[in-house]
Symmetry: C2
Subunit: 135 residues, 2 copies
DNA sequence: TTAAATACGACTATTTAAGTCTTATATTTA
DNA sequence: TAAATATAAGACTTAAATAGTCGTATTTAA
């Protein structure tokens, strides 16, 4: 299917929203979830993942929320994919988390290396695209 | 997850196998399935899809099998993806089968157009990669 | 006419994605 | 300091897509 997960779409929308609408102030999960009709609980957890990956920072408590941790131009599409997509990669054997294989067919596989080259090209596209570009 | 389906991997292996091993003669599903440990029934249906998409041709009956319908260099990775991946596209709104949307959030979505550009770049990669290149 | 192959639709099982529930913690403000 | 508002986080459930199976029909060479 080669599809971006909905989680990644939501995270992208949220980061773009923050880039456009934050002006020093914090932005709450509720505000973003309401704007796009995203489940609050689901988006909340995505925001937490973005914090853990250093893309945004949080402020707890009343008047709390989130804001970008760096400029929109320095946030890559690949950063968000890596933060949110669980097993990113064209094939099982290319998951960034597990450099070693995990595929029973690895010994007889004739397409692994060619696909790895394709994967590199795709990664390049994702790292050439920044949030700044999609504003 | 952004993963190629196993079906597409199998189809790629099969097409590459045919490119390497056919010399005029037909190649059976069984031969390919046994070589790579792929389910015979599953691969058989993939081969049929490749026939319908004009990538290979079939010969029924005893001594039957499949052979490539064109040169390895003129078979694009994108051809095989389009033949096998059911809903190819980065997002629900980009499925090649349904040019029109199918997404409830389309009205408020701020990432559709930027992602469409990324999709085009990915399509370019897939159409620049041929079976000839991965031999 | 038999054996070896493809053709194809319906079905099942497994895995992944998507969303929900619950409880805990931090922080501002009345 | 209590109440209100926000994030933090793990367990759980549901829905959808992927992967694989089964059964039967058809084609064709020997
Ligand atoms: S080794 Fe080959 S079959 Fe296994 S996951 Fe990688 S590409 Fe696919
Ligand atoms: S319109 Fe936006 S939310 Fe809907 S599928 Fe396309 S990118 Fe995703």
């Amino acid at each position: 299917m080669l599809r971006l997960s909905k989680k990644t779409e939501y995270a992208l929308m949220a980061v773009k929203y923050m880039a456009v609408n934050q002006n020093g102030k914090c932005i709450t999960v509720k505000e973003i979830a309401d704007t796009y009709g995203i489940s609050f609980q689901l988006l909340a957890k995505l925001m937490q993942q973005l914090v853990r990956n250093g893309i945004i920072e949080s402020q707890q408590g009343t008047k709390g929320g989130y804001r970008l941790n760096k400029s929109a131009d320095s946030i890559l599409l690949l950063d968000i994919i890596n933060a949110i997509e669980e097993n990113y990669g064209l094939t099982d054997c290319m998951e960034s988390e597990i450099p070693e294989n995990g595929c029973a067919r690895a010994n007889c596989c004739t397409i692994r290396d060619p696909l790895a080259k394709v994967q590199n090209k795709i990664n390049r596209i994702f790292s050439e695209t920044t949030i700044g570009q999609i504003l």
